[in-house]
């Protein structure tokens, strides 16, 4: 009876939210909000000064386009790694070396909407080699190397729009995938929007990952019915070889999706037998279609990125991969599709559904073998719901979005609308615990919680709304996450912590798997940058027409050369700065007055280049921006710009001879 009235209340609440009324605040009852935390919570999140966190957490920066690195359980921010967005702080996307990283077939795109971080895996367990992250807006996948914590590769996904169900990987990171959230014409072209059903298609891309270098290569694209492919996860263990994609808008609406894509009681989860398709592709199936997409790679040996423009992609239709794709009905507009650690259970999180359906791999396999179909879509068979279903979690809460798992047979599902996390038993489908979160959780994350081996100690709730949780900062508030202890029977709230951008999704991994590989410096002898200056005596200035190249070195506490003359207005000056230091944590910065780009932040042994245009005659100071030493303020110099027709010869020096 009580349960029923709660549900009624929740439905009213749902209505209020959907009608845009904000009811979460209520300044009058501030004290009622939030559970009292357990008295031992502070000691559980307190990491002593100088001590390390137990886990790294790689948190997507959402619409900031970046990725942030937090420690757990402390919630301390260690680094924001620029991925899809320019970052003036260290010159990413501004330097000549990194500009190619942001090139796409649509031009130089200095921003994206990064959604899902995904650690590389070995045998279905995160291994700490790389993290992948998707660019949702201009479809891209980036790979970050966890030796350097740098973005080292970005591949663009053609025929895709809204790269949302991405970049989830297979158990050995054989592939990362990219399912399109917007169906668009494959070979994008000018067609009436109303011709959606005939001209629009959903492309699902499989990107092969080289196991040694990590290099990504777009292997093939499946051209499927024009649904919105929302999220995905690979099978594992018994279900290894399958990839599951949730989709909404099976109504195939192209306007007012809020209503028109919410009509059907059930949408689908698409099960793809990627191992079978791999064989078909190897056997020569598929059509190479003309397209254009960029593949940008950063080479650590030359400290520079370069772009490769690719012109063709292999596509396969449902007809060509007959028997390798099946739709599983799933209520209602499913968002996350999550596979439990055993690989037997597949959880569909229908965001408008009142139950959480749990599918069984064994039953799916049997249903396919027994052709237990209720129909087909463009030749893709649709299994009978009951034939694939293991069971439903009843009355879990409202607005289920995502599930992750612990190592004790429990699933944890985020409830956006009822703003809570619900713990349930995967085998029995019984809800065993629930905890409110503040507010409206999207993804949740347990380190390894989407893998074969969850480290089931902490859960991070990645919230969509912050409101009154922190000191106010005007209309634009911080985003936030919450740390929850899941080591016992009852979930316990431990900590709130602010995050950058939108903490869309995250991955967690024991620190020792990553920290032992972390690089300290770039070795000068391995620096093959074509403009590297490895010795101070080789520092120089060279003119090539109206281009001037400054081969510059930085070492505590001087820049060489620090007096430069002979630059003329209109010259394009490239400062190639090599940091000669070979000691840990001794970066140097470089900035010149009036630079329309950014500064440089050069790591020990690294070479970085910034372009600067000499406009008006005059004196232009430059200096080191990163407080490097006691004489950091002395680490400065002057550049003289003379008139266009002046006769001042190129000259350069550091320290006058006496």
């Amino acid at each position: 009876m009580k349960r029923k009235s709660q549900t009624m209340f929740s439905l009213v609440l749902l209505g209020l939210i959907f009608s845009g009324v904000v009811i979460f605040t209520g300044c009058g009852n501030k004290k009622d909000k939030g559970p009292l935390i357990e008295s031992d919570a502070p000691s559980k999140v307190y990491v002593e000064p100088g001590k390390y966190d137990e886990f790294y957490s790689f948190v997507s920066g959402g619409f900031s386009g970046q990725m942030s690195v937090y420690g757990l359980p402390s919630g301390r921010l260690f680094k924001v790694i620029p991925v899809f967005s320019q970052n003036a702080e260290n010159g990413y996307g501004y330097t000549e070396e990194t500009k190619p990283m942001l090139q796409t077939s649509k031009g130089f795109i200095p921003w994206d909407d990064s959604h899902h971080s995904e650690l590389s895996m070995k045998d279905g367990v995160p291994d700490g080699r790389w993290v992948f992250i998707n660019g949702n807006n201009t479809p891209r996948i980036a790979r970050l190397d966890l030796k350097t914590f740098k973005t080292v590769e970005i591949i663009e996904i053609p025929n895709s729009a809204g790269n949302h169900s991405s970049p989830f990987t297979t158990p050995n990171s054989e592939y990362v995938v990219a399912g399109t959230r917007f169906s668009v014409p494959v070979e994008n072209r000018d067609v009436p929007i109303s011709s959606y059903k005939e001209n629009f298609r959903g492309a699902i891309s499989f990107i092969k990952v080289d196991q040694n270098s990590g290099d990504m290569k777009l292997s093939f694209q499946l051209i499927t019915p024009p649904f919105d492919y929302d999220l995905s996860h690979a099978g594992k263990g018994p279900s290894d070889g399958l990839f599951f994609f949730s989709c909404y808008n099976t109504e195939m609406a192209h306007t007012l999706l809020e209503v028109n894509a919410s009509q059907k009681d059930k949408d689908y989860i698409l099960a793809i037998n990627w191992k079978k398709i791999e064989e078909l592709v190897a056997a020569g199936k598929g059509t190479d279609k003309a397209t254009t997409y960029y593949h940008n790679k950063f080479d650590d040996k030359v400290h520079s990125a370069s772009s490769e423009i690719l012109k063709s992609v292999k596509t396969l239709t449902p007809e060509e991969v007959k028997g390798a794709m099946y739709y599983i009905p799933c209520p209602k507009s499913p968002h996350g599709v999550d596979v439990d650690p055993t690989g037997e259970y597949i959880v569909g999180n229908g965001k408008l559904s009142t139950v959480i359906p749990v599918f069984s791999f064994t039953k799916i396999k049997k249903a396919i073998e027994g052709s237990e179909f209720e129909g087909n879509v463009e030749g893709i068979p649709v299994l009978k719901y009951e034939s694939a279903l293991s069971g439903e979690v009843q009355k879990p809460g409202l607005g289920p979005l995502h599930s992750e798992f612990d190592d004790k047979g429990f699933a944890y599902t985020s409830m956006f609308v009822s703003s809570e996390i619900v713990k349930w038993n995967v085998a029995t489908k019984e809800v065993v615990d629930r905890i409110p979160v503040y507010y409206s959780v999207g993804h949740l994350m347990i380190p390894g919680g989407d893998s074969k081996k969850p480290w089931g100690k902490y859960l991070v709730s990645l919230n969509k709304i912050t409101k009154d949780r922190f000191l106010p900062t005007g209309p634009e508030l911080t985003q936030s996450a919450q740390l929850i202890d899941i080591s016992g029977d009852k979930m316990k709230l431990l900590l709130d912590f602010p995050t950058i951008g939108e903490p869309h999704y995250a991955q967690g991994i024991p620190a020792e798997l990553v920290m032992k590989n972390s690089q300290r410096i770039y070795k000068l002898e391995d620096n093959n940058h074509p403009y590297a200056t490895k010795f101070e005596k080789d520092a120089r200035v060279e003119r090539k027409g109206n281009e001037v190249h400054v081969y510059m070195t930085a070492i505590r506490s001087h820049i060489t050369p620090d007096n430069i003359e002979g630059i003329k207005s209109g010259d394009i000056v490239y400062f190639h700065v090599t940091n000669l230091e070979q000691d840990w944590d001794t970066p140097h910065g470089f900035a010149i007055m009036g630079n329309e780009n950014s500064e440089l932040l050069v790591m020990p042994g690294e070479t970085c280049t910034i372009k600067w245009i000499a406009k008006e005659p005059g004196i232009y100071p430059f200096y080191c921006t990163d407080f490097c030493s006691a004489l950091h303020q002395e680490m400065q110099g002057y550049l003289r710009v003379s008139g266009k027709d002046s006769n001042v010869p190129i000259s350069f020096s550091t320290g006058e001879k006496k």
Partner: protein, 193 residues
């Protein structure tokens, strides 16, 4: 020479070969900014460790850069050690007490000379400071200790024997004991006769 002396001299000589493969001396520098440690190891023929970092720091006080190539001792020492080892082996073989005396004296002199030489190098680096350097060290003296600990500006400098140094010191001390043992025995015999 007693048989025990001969065997010990032979063993010492053979053990001394290991000094080619381990550092002889260690200078450690401790400061808050270097939790990972900073130091250099002096071998019989080279200097390893954070030499570049140390040189980089030393330029602030105007110290010359430490360049192992310019230190002649690092070229000579392997030969001198070779002579010591060979002489030891020959002493044990030929069984001449006089030769034992020569060997021990050579060994001890070598130790003293090494210490003095090391001190002179330290004095040279620590006192020939460029007067135009950014940081003027009071008294223009920045000399690490010969052995032990000393505060140098923000650094605690620790100078101690490394594995090779311990072997050399141990072997040197043992060689003196052998000498005493061997000669004492002889004197006793004479008295009895």
């Amino acid at each position: 020479m007693k048989k025990a002396s001969r065997i010990t001299v032979l063993i010492i000589s053979l053990v001394l070969i290991s000094v080619y493969f381990v550092p002889v001396w260690e200078i450690e520098l401790e400061a808050p900014q270097y939790p990972e440690g900073l130091g250099m190891n002096i071998w019989i023929n080279k200097i390893t460790g954070d030499l570049n970092t140390i040189n980089g720091l030393n330029h602030y006080i105007g110290m010359k850069t430490i360049q192992p190539d310019s230190i002649k001792e690092l070229t000579l020492m392997p030969y001198i050690l070779g002579v010591l080892i060979l002489l030891g082996i020959v002493t044990a073989m030929l069984n001449k007490r006089k030769l034992l005396l020569v060997w021990v004296i050579f060994f001890v002199l070598l130790g003293v000379a090494g210490g003095v030489d090391f001190y002179l190098w330290e004095y040279d680096y620590g006192h020939n400071l460029n007067p135009e350097a950014a940081i003027k060290i009071p008294g223009m003296s920045y000399q690490p200790p010969l052995i032990g600990t000393k505060q140098l500006a923000n650094f605690t400098a620790i100078s101690i024997p490394d594995t090779g140094g311990m072997i050399l010191i141990g072997a040197g001390a043992l060689s003196l004991l052998i000498l005493l043992y061997d000669f004492k025995k002889k004197n006793k015999n004479i008295i009895i006769k």
